[in-house]
Symmetry: C2
Subunit: 147 residues, 2 copies
DNA sequence: TACTAAAATGATTATTTTAGTCAACAATTC
DNA sequence: GAATTGTTGACTAAAATAATCATTTTAGTA
């Protein structure tokens, strides 16, 4: 039941981007530095988010990453979906055909309930919520006043 | 966010055992056959459940597995805990020290909420609930009337 | 145009985890 | 003591993870 680095880093990168969006385009290198993620790896991590249309990238001098949607319109459930695929704890929840027991398997029902519970949490939180929470906690950790 | 086979097989084995507990001791071989899990692998899967005192095993002829606690007293949250460890989607939720960002990281708070949501589901369901649900669905799939 | 800065992409790799198998051993019953 | 059943530990193949690196493409600028 662990999240991979794609999900963890991706959400952090998106939050970092939102926190610095006032400056317009943000350098991937700066996100990588503030979030302590290696730049080459971060490039791979954000690929699905770019493909999903959440952000736009520009190459060359003055290039960088730009948020395309308003943070208030970006739900964490979508983000995790793009980064990790389905949050179902077992495949049969989404695709009953992977197991011929699906039709009468009560444990499958349980995993469906778990999926639903996780979805409800992530579906109720937007990137804007994260931004506000972070501002309440202070900008520490976004690299601004970092020791 | 996927469960490993330990969690999936372990819960199914426990449910199978509960469904056949009227017969007293149940052969691991029979559980393996009904649940379509290889016997040698199932032996490894149930090890943590035996260690946790949920079931007892007896070797030799007329041996097998016996449920030690009443199904109504066995919560899925415990079972998954024994089989998979913490259900926290990231390690820092349980152990803040693994990351120095923990104190001011709002994404960590989110993963904590996810953990809590999953826990609430699994904590509210007992093995007895699974048994009853399975009986409502019919014994199919427990190997009894299997085609 | 040439140069430089930035992201994109694809190949490669090391490590870890997963999902088992197998063989030898221990205990229990008949 | 022979057969049966579970226990344990070693081992392994395959997949996923978490990267790194080199090359390419794009965009701005001197």
């Amino acid at each position: 039941m662990k999240l991979s680095t794609r999900g963890r880093y991706g959400v952090r990168a998106l939050l970092d981007l939102a926190l610095h969006s006032c400056e317009g385009t943000v350098l991937l290198r700066d996100i990588a530095r503030r979030q302590e993620i290696s730049l080459p790896y971060l490039e791979h991590v954000i690929t699905p988010l770019v493909a999903a249309g959440l952000m736009k990238t520009t190459r060359g001098p003055r290039g960088g990453v730009l948020l395309l949607k308003s943070p208030a319109e970006i739900k964490l459930s979508e983000v995790i979906g793009f980064l990790e695929g389905s949050i179902a704890p077992v495949d049969c929840v989404d695709n009953p055909d992977v197991c011929r027991r699906s039709a009468f398997c009560v444990t499958r029902d349980i995993w469906g309930e778990v999926k639903e519970a996780v979805h409800q949490v992530l579906d109720s939180i937007t990137l804007q919520d994260l931004v506000e929470r972070q501002r309440e906690k202070g900008q520490t950790g976004t690299g601004m006043y970092y020791i």
